[in-house]
Structures are given as structure tokens and as C-alpha cells.
């Protein structure tokens, strides 16, 4: 998969530190499962976590804690490896997302939002929204800005906005400085996974009217 748009380093740090909202962490994990470059970047960023751990002042641990754990080791089941990286076949949902929406992008129970737009909400704890969005070919998403951050991962199809063209596997990692209006390419509809850490801010009157409906 040829991926041109990657995660911002600062987003990767938040992900690795465990400080992203659940929804945004899900989008990041899904992108990483598709993107070798960001996978390498995560490994480097995790080494920062390792160095921080190594320099921690040690807390007190009682000797009985060690005794207890040693008596348990023989009964511990050995862990099986998890499958974490996506194979390339189109239509398959990347592994981190599967426990939320199932295995196939073609068997999703869409809810119609407006002509050309459908969505499924993904339940995630905490602040912000996480949702799968399906947009028909040639449609434009209303111009909007963000109070916080917004992550958009293309799972199928492509769109273009003020920043560039985004295709399968690409991620748009935007903060409150950016206002954009994605236009879906004409040959194929697109499916994307979007997460925000606060509500979006639509910039047109129509967008403001629709906001209660779209929920972003």
C-alpha cells in the first residue's frame, strides 16, 4: 500500500504515551497497522518511553510481592501472539478495528445521514466522537474547522482537500489551525474513519444547521 500522508510526530507521542482519547487511539492504531513508516516511528517513540521508565526513581516493592509472583509463575498460561498488521486485501477491516465493526467493509449496517452520506457511530469512551463515514463519489463534505484535533483515515476510495489528495491508508492529522473541505473523487465513493477530541466547528450556516444531526 502506497501511503503519502502520515501521522504527526506529536500525535504519535500522545498515542505511545497512552494519552490519546480512545477514539483517536483507535484511528492511530488502525493507520499504524497499514503503514510501515509510522510503525517504525512508533518503535522509536516507544524507546523514549523506555528511557523514561529506566530513569524513574524506584518505588518500594515488598519482598512478599516477589514471593507471591514466583509461586504463580508455573500456573501462568503462555500468551499467544496477536495478529496486528493488516494484509493488503481490499475490503478487509484492519485488525485494530475488527472488534468494533467486524471483518468486512462490505457488511456494515450504514445509517443514512443525507443523500450521498451514511455513517456508523463507533462507541468509544471519553471525549470526542469516533465514526465511520461513507460518502458517494463526487460529493463534498461541508467546510469545517476544529476546536481540537481531528484524525481522518481513508479505508477505501479517495478525496482531495486544500492539503492534497488522500487515498487508501492515508491519514489527515489536523489541528485547530486548519479549515478544510474534502471533495470525494468522482470514480469511487470513500469510506473513512474519523475521530475528534472535541466537536467540529462548521463554518457555513448550512453546516451549523446540520451540526446537531451529524453530531460532529
Amino acid at each position: 500500500m502506497k501511503i503519502n500522508h502520515h501521522l504527526d510526530e506529536s500525535t504519535l507521542v500522545s498515542y505511545v504515551a497512552g494519552s490519546l482519547s480512545q477514539g483517536m487511539a483507535l484511528v492511530v492504531a488502525t493507520h499504524i497497522s497499514l503503514c510501515e513508516k509510522c510503525r517504525e516511528s512508533v518503535i522509536e517513540t516507544e524507546a523514549i518511553g523506555g528511557a523514561l521508565l529506566e530513569q524513574m526513581d524506584s518505588s518500594e516493592i515488598s519482598d512478599t510481592s516477589l514471593e507471591t509472583i514466583l509461586s504463580q509463575l508455573d500456573e501462568e498460561p503462555i500468551a499467544e501472539p496477536e495478529k496486528g498488521v493488516t494484509d493488503e486485501s481490499d475490503g478487509l477491516v484492519p485488525p485494530p478495528l475488527r472488534s468494533y465493526i467486524g471483518e468486512s467493509l462490505d457488511s456494515i449496517n450504514w445509517r443514512r445521514l443525507a443523500p450521498g452520506f451514511a455513517y456508523v457511530d463507533i462507541f468509544t469512551e471519553g471525549a470526542g466522537v469516533c465514526r465511520l463515514l461513507k460518502v458517494s463519489p463526487g460529493k463534498s463534505i461541508l467546510p469545517h474547522g476544529h476546536r481540537g484535533s481531528e484524525l481522518t483515515l481513508l479505508l477505501r476510495g479517495s478525496f482531495s482537500d486544500e492539503i492534497g489528495r488522500f487515498a487508501q491508508g492515508d491519514i489527515a492529522d489536523l489541528d485547530d489551525q486548519v479549515e478544510h473541505q474534502p471533495l470525494v473523487d468522482k470514480d469511487q465513493g470513500c469510506i473513512c474513519l474519523v475521530a475528534t477530541d472535541s466537536p467540529l466547528r462548521f463554518t457555513t450556516l448550512l453546516g451549523k444547521l446540520l451540526q446537531p444531526v451529524t453530531g460532529f
Binding site: S14, L52, L73, E76, D197
Partner: protein, 179 residues
């Protein structure tokens, strides 16, 4: 400096409990200190530390020294254990586990080098300008999102991100042995 990565690899292949004790004595107090800083009670920190250290035993055969030093791997185990406890949902992750490699491939010539840079990294972290170190600490030890850090420091979101980027750039150069 002890080669903890080598010790972990050896423990995985031999199931030698005396090696486990060495690793436990070194890492458990640090893991507990990290978990405590995330803001949980002493009793919970003890419990999560024990779970993390049990996972070190259960998952040791999945540890890949080509990808990470022992301290890095322990950090990810402790992080996942804490987040899964704090949230009802499992923290979304792709797997850093070894895919399909035999144990013979596990001994890695780069291991020692990684330890040097981990030590060097600690120095570089300590030399970061205060405003960069602050955002790194708030991310890693307080679990704060960019927006929360921006609110707390009363600076724009963009400034939080650029401070983190500047800090990470220096740290990664160190890691690659270029600084």
C-alpha cells in the same frame, strides 16, 4: 551497565526463574513508580505492577530484541496494563510482538548498542529545554492529551504540538546515534 535486554531474551528461552528474579528486582520498582505517577492509589499501583510483571513472564517469548530494548517493552506492558484498568475499553494497539521467528534468531548484535543509546537518551531528556521536557512529561506521566496540556499551560494547541515535535526530533536523533 547490565544487559537487561539480553537477560530477558535468555529468560524467555530458558524459563530460568533466577533470571526472572533479577529482572523483577530491576524493573518492578520502576514500573510501580511509573504507574504511581499516572495518579492511582498505592494499592492499585501494586496490583498493576504485579500484573505487568506477570505479563513479562507470560509474554517473554514474544519479545523481539530487534525491535525494542527490555525497558521499552516493559514500558508498553505497564502502559497497557494501566490504561486497560483506567478505561473499560482495551487500549487500541497494533502488535509489537514478534511475528513468526524462531528463538535462535532472537540474539541480536544491536542489543548492546540499544542500551548505550537508551542511557544516552536519558541524558538528552534531562538536557531538554524546560518547556519541551514539560510537555513530554505531561504526555507520558500524567496521561494528558494535547488539548488538556494547552488548557493547563494556557498556550495554543499548535504550540503544544510544536514543542513535542522539537523534543522528539532531538530524542530520535540520539536514538539513531546521530547526536
Amino acid at each position: 551497565m547490565e544487559d537487561w535486554t539480553g537477560t530477558l531474551v535468555k529468560m524467555a528461552s530458558t524459563q530460568d526463574k533466577s533470571l526472572y528474579v533479577l529482572l523483577y528486582r530491576h524493573f518492578a520498582p520502576k514500573v510501580k513508580a511509573y504507574i504511581t505517577r499516572l495518579g492511582v492509589s498505592e494499592a492499585t499501583a501494586d496490583e498493576l505492577t504485579q500484573e505487568t510483571m506477570l505479563n513479562m513472564w507470560r509474554k517473554a517469548h514474544l519479545f523481539d530484541p530487534a525491535k525494542a530494548a527490555a525497558s521499552t517493552w516493559l514500558f508498553t506492558l505497564a502502559r497497557n496494563q494501566s490504561i486497560d484498568w483506567m478505561r473499560r475499553q482495551k487500549y487500541p494497539e497494533y502488535s509489537l510482538d514478534r511475528m513468526e521467528k524462531s528463538l535462535e534468531e532472537a540474539s541480536d548484535p544491536d542489543t548492546a548498542e540499544k542500551h548505550v543509546s537508551s542511557y544516552r537518551m536519558t541524558q538528552v531528556i534531562n538536557q531538554l529545554p524546560e518547556n519541551q521536557a514539560q510537555v513530554i512529561y505531561m504526555s507520558f506521566f500524567e496521561g494528558r492529551s494535547h488539548a488538556e496540556i494547552a488548557d493547563r499551560l494556557m498556550i495554543p494547541l499548535g504550540s503544544v504540538k510544536s514543542r513535542i515535535r522539537l523534543a522528539v526530533e532531538k530524542l530520535k536523533l540520539t536514538l539513531r546515534g546521530e547526536a
